[in-house]
Subunit: 208 residues, 2 copies
């Protein structure tokens, strides 16, 4: 009886995952057929179904792997003062860095390319993380905790997408700083109650 996983099976699975990743970057998840995937992976039709029940199964499997990778990265590198309840956005730094390391994977998940499945899955995972870091007592009861969680998750995912699509050159910590600033302090802190700079020269130093 086999005590180790057969190398053939491992190779096949890896090929399928890589094919899925490549194709999702190119065409997006929903547009893919199983046919496309096995062609790209150069794997027989029946072989595919021997390992996964369909393309969604393959997708979930990949997501799962990435998720465990993240969990590991989080537990290994608390990076200074970990956990704690006084940083309601504790997850963000680690996440941005993880996203930077696995850009391709994250690109496939964010911004519509990943389909509804991934979208739900990632929202769920993120919500869980945020919920744990958010202090149990909010100021007054005017705003439900759950709403705050969803708000943050939505803003975060959008930020991730903006990063990838518009300013991929920025470092994780730069994006992290912007996100935290906006999420913590809010919009009003960016607006001039000070109108002094009205007629400053049009020297926008940003290329975009």
């Amino acid at each position: 009886m086999p005590r180790e996983i057969d190398r053939r099976a491992a190779r096949t699975r890896k090929a399928l995952h890589e094919a899925l990743l490549a194709l999702m970057l190119r065409k997006g998840y929903e547009a893919l057929s199983v046919q496309d995937i096995i062609d790209e992976a150069d794997v027989g039709r029946s072989t595919f179904y021997a390992h996964y029940t369909g393309k969604e199964d393959l997708l979930r499997s990949g997501f799962q792997m990435l998720r465990e990778e993240l969990k590991e990265a989080q537990s290994v590198a608390p990076a200074g003062a970990e956990a704690s309840h006084d940083d309601p956005l504790g997850f963000s730094t680690a996440m941005f860095e993880h996203a930077a390391r696995y850009t391709d994977h994250y690109r496939t998940m964010i911004g519509g390319r990943g389909g509804a499945v991934t979208e739900n899955e990632i929202r769920l995972a993120l919500s869980e993380m945020v919920r744990q870091e958010l202090p149990p007592t909010l100021h007054g009861d005017a705003i439900p905790r759950d709403f705050v969680v969803q708000f943050i998750v939505g803003a975060f995912l959008t930020t991730l997408n903006w990063w990838f699509e518009r300013k991929p050159k920025l470092s994780p910590s730069q994006v992290d700083a912007m996100f935290r600033r906006l999420a913590l302090e809010g919009l009003s802190h960016l607006m001039g109650d000070e109108r002094r700079q009205v007629d400053l020269p049009a020297a926008s130093r940003d290329t975009d």
Copy 2:
């Protein structure tokens, strides 16, 4: 030559749109086949393709109609102090009210049910609205305007989804207030620098 649109054609189109709406609420856009739609609408196969090139075309057409409806509602009801540059979230109130009036339509678009097409479309439309209302000069140049826009759009869409899925009983103005509070003032305003309420009784008045 016909100067008015044939009533039959109008009926067909309406039937198709209603069928699409109903099916999207039930199964989500991506899971639908043209077959499902024409069955639900009780319309011949060839008839469908006489009007639309495919299900995406039908979808876009519906989105377009709703969009025009919104534009009209906005121009008709400025509701107090309209336009202006000192309210960076001017769109939100009108949008929440529009969403309340067309709940079913919005439900199909938000939260994955609408597929990638709708998601992109609605993000684009919203981005445009936000961009116009955001003052051209932000405090310093540390945070790109474009990022702020995306941040708001993402947070807004998430808010919409949360409203529908979790607290559909709330009035538009209530949700609007929460959204504005969080977007404008940020998270930190919700956190206790005041720890006085630590041991308050566990009488959570909210059912959720």
